[in-house]
């Protein structure tokens, strides 16, 4: 794992990629920090970091696009996959390298509260909680980028899809507001989702009976639940969509709350993406 991590770090810093990523994040946060915290003397980092979340939309795809796609294109994955090494080690090593690169601007951002404390009182706990949230959000975004890079051979496609996914997640709060909060809306949406789930099962297992059984069972359970207690479904679709709203889970951190459920959420997003990445690499062997 460490071997792969070292190799990736070297590769990112012999090419321009690593520097550009670090520079870009520092540039944008620096501008906002100067505007809000230095010039306007605002003592908290919440506005600053909340305003710069868009930076991930550009910076993360640039960072992650080549991580696995390029190995496949250059056939260097043949070296890695025939070496005495687990696929998990390869994926985690690469992820670790990206996180290390991302940690560089974060460490510099960690100096911001110290700079501010020169000019007045700053709540250090709140400031570092915001930074922790910002770090976790970035890590989750990078994990998504790694997974998408493992699906394709082309860096450009990887970058575009990663940007698309992160963008949809970024505007998810707005999308959620399109839907009414009424229980019926949620019920209909859930029922559609069950049908989609059944279709996915049919595609994966090529078995009509399992798909129909799962679909029918899901629909019946939904209808029974709705009949018994329809309040369960109120604003349900919003709750469902908020799963994909990564930036939304940053809000509590931004308010200076050390949100353990938020930490758990980001860690699970990372875990799921790593798992999917390993599976997508293993699956390609069988095709």
């Amino acid at each position: 794992m460490i071997v792969i991590c070292k190799k990736e770090l070297r590769s990112y810093f012999t090419s321009m990629m690593g520097y550009i990523f670090v520079f870009f994040i520092l540039l944008v946060t620096g501008i906002y920090f100067t505007a809000y915290n230095i010039n306007s003397a605002y003592p908290k980092l919440d506005y600053t970091l909340n305003a710069v979340l868009f930076v991930f939309l550009v910076a993360v795809p640039v960072l992650t696009m080549k991580i696995l796609a390029d190995e496949r294109r250059l056939k260097t994955d043949q070296l890695l996959l025939t070496a005495p090494l687990k696929v998990e080690d390869i994926v985690l090593g690469k992820y670790l390298a990206l996180i290390t690169i991302y940690a560089i601007p974060i460490l510099i951002i960690c100096l911001y509260p110290l700079i501010m404390s020169q000019f007045g009182t700053v709540s250090m706990f709140e400031a570092y909680t915001v930074i922790l949230g910002f770090f976790l959000l970035g890590c989750a975004d990078i994990a998504i980028g790694v997974y998408i890079s493992s699906v394709t051979e082309s860096q450009v496609i990887a970058a575009v899809i990663t940007f698309g996914v992160l963008f949809v997640s970024f505007v998810m709060e707005g999308i959620a507001q399109f839907f009414s909060t009424a229980a019926v809306t949620s019920l209909v949406c859930y029922m559609v989702l069950v049908v989609i789930l059944a279709l996915i099962i049919e595609m994966m297992f090529r078995s009509k009976t399992i798909a129909v059984a799962v679909g029918a069972a899901g629909e019946i359970i939904l209808l029974i639940l709705y009949a018994v207690n329809s309040t369960l479904f109120e604003s349900g679709i919003q709750k469902f969509l908020s799963i994909f709203n990564l930036a939304g889970h940053f809000n509590n951190f931004a308010n200076g709350i050390l949100d353990l459920s938020g930490v758990l959420y980001f860690v699970s997003v990372i875990g799921v993406c790593m798992l999917l990445t390993v599976q997508s690499i293993l699956k390609r062997r069988w095709n």
Binding site: V3, L80, T82, A83
Partner: protein, 336 residues
């Protein structure tokens, strides 16, 4: 050492490898021979665990390459068709990375890398970027990568493709010297290469093993097909009976000759006996002039072609049919 049992790989409806069975023993150089698209690379990718088989299994020293992957892969060094090189590294950086990847102990790494760079003759360019190396040198770095860690088995997929003749000879010598301490498997579609380097040849065509023997035995088989081709002017039946009267003649095949009043004969003798002189005097006695006499020597190439081309001919006729159909359609279109 390596056991391949009933190995099958299917891509959709296309069967790339179709039920391969063979065993690789220690300390020999094996050659995988087959035309392009015969399934050589697919087989090697399965032996090294890069891709999984549809069915069947590969055992490396008793370890299954898929279930016991980490242990099994330790025994193997692999040079794929396209050397897996990172262009943004220097030669030394790359070899250091590979050594670490293959878990070579830290204290042995530097000496091993120096040794191997010496063996594959890239010692004068350890600090060159791989991107800037010529194709031949890239191939050598790829070879160095496969040797690092001195694995028991070294698998090379078309190691001499794209090299100039001098480099080809150098790489062949290198492979021969590797064969002294390692088991080497190499693939090639060039027969002379395999017969020059290998102790044992596995011929693959259309995903199936069609022959496996030492190059010497394969050559012997080839000589059995040696024949004497004759064109003689005269009475067909008398000529045939005169030739068949020879002691050493095994069989005589008669063909229509293109020349008027002549007979074409193909004569096979026991133990490759040479009957050309006797035949000349006998025909002279009978006043049947020999217009042409040629000793046709079957080569390994003939065996190779014979073994690998038969099923392909069937395929080709199919393709031709398809072409004709397409042609007809085009005609139809132009009529419109």
């Amino acid at each position: 050492m390596i056991e391949v049992k009933n190995l099958v790989k299917r891509y959709g409806n296309h069967t790339a490898v179709d039920g391969l069975n063979f065993t690789i023993e220690e300390g020999k150089i094996y050659g995988f021979l087959g035309p392009n698209g015969a399934g050589k690379s697919t087989t090697m990718n399965m032996i090294t665990g890069y891709i999984a088989s549809t069915s069947g299994e590969v055992l490396i020293n008793g370890c299954n390459i898929l279930d016991d992957a980490e242990k099994a892969k330790k025994y193997i060094g692999y040079l794929p068709e396209q050397p897996p090189l990172y262009f943004d590294m220097t030669v030394r950086e790359y070899l250091q990375f590979v050594a670490e990847l293959k878990k070579v102990p830290k204290k042995d790494r530097e000496t091993m890398i120096e040794e191997i760079m010496d063996v594959v003759k890239i010692k004068e360019m350890p600090n060159r970027l791989i991107r800037n190396l010529s194709k031949g040198y890239k191939q050598r770095v790829g070879l160095a990568q496969a040797i690092i860690g001195y694995p028991e088995i070294i698998i090379l997929d078309e190691p001499t493709v794209g090299l100039d003749p001098k480099q080809i000879i150098e790489i062949r010598d290198l492979i021969k010297s590797l064969g002294k301490n390692h088991t080497v498997i190499l693939s090639s579609h060039i027969l002379s290469e395999v017969s020059a380097v290998c102790d044992y040849v596995l011929i693959i065509a259309h995903g199936k093993l069609v022959a496996s023997d030492t190059p010497e035995n394969l050559s012997k088989k080839a000589f059995e097909d040696d024949a004497l081709e004759l064109t003689v002017k005269g009475e067909r039946d008398e000529i045939v009976s005169a030739v068949e009267a020879f002691e050493n003649v095994d069989s005589v095949t008669v063909k229509e000759s293109k020349e008027p009043g002549c007979v074409d004969l193909s004569v096979k003798t026991y133990d490759l006996a040479d009957i050309r002189e006797e035949l000349f005097y006998r025909m002279a006695e009978l006043h049947y002039p020999i217009l042409k006499m040629e000793h046709i020597r079957a080569t390994l190439e003939d065996i190779f072609l014979e073994l690998t081309e038969r099923p392909e001919d069937v395929d080709r006729s199919g393709e031709e049919q398809l072409d004709m159909e397409i042609g007809e359609e085009e005609d139809h279109d132009s009529n419109l």
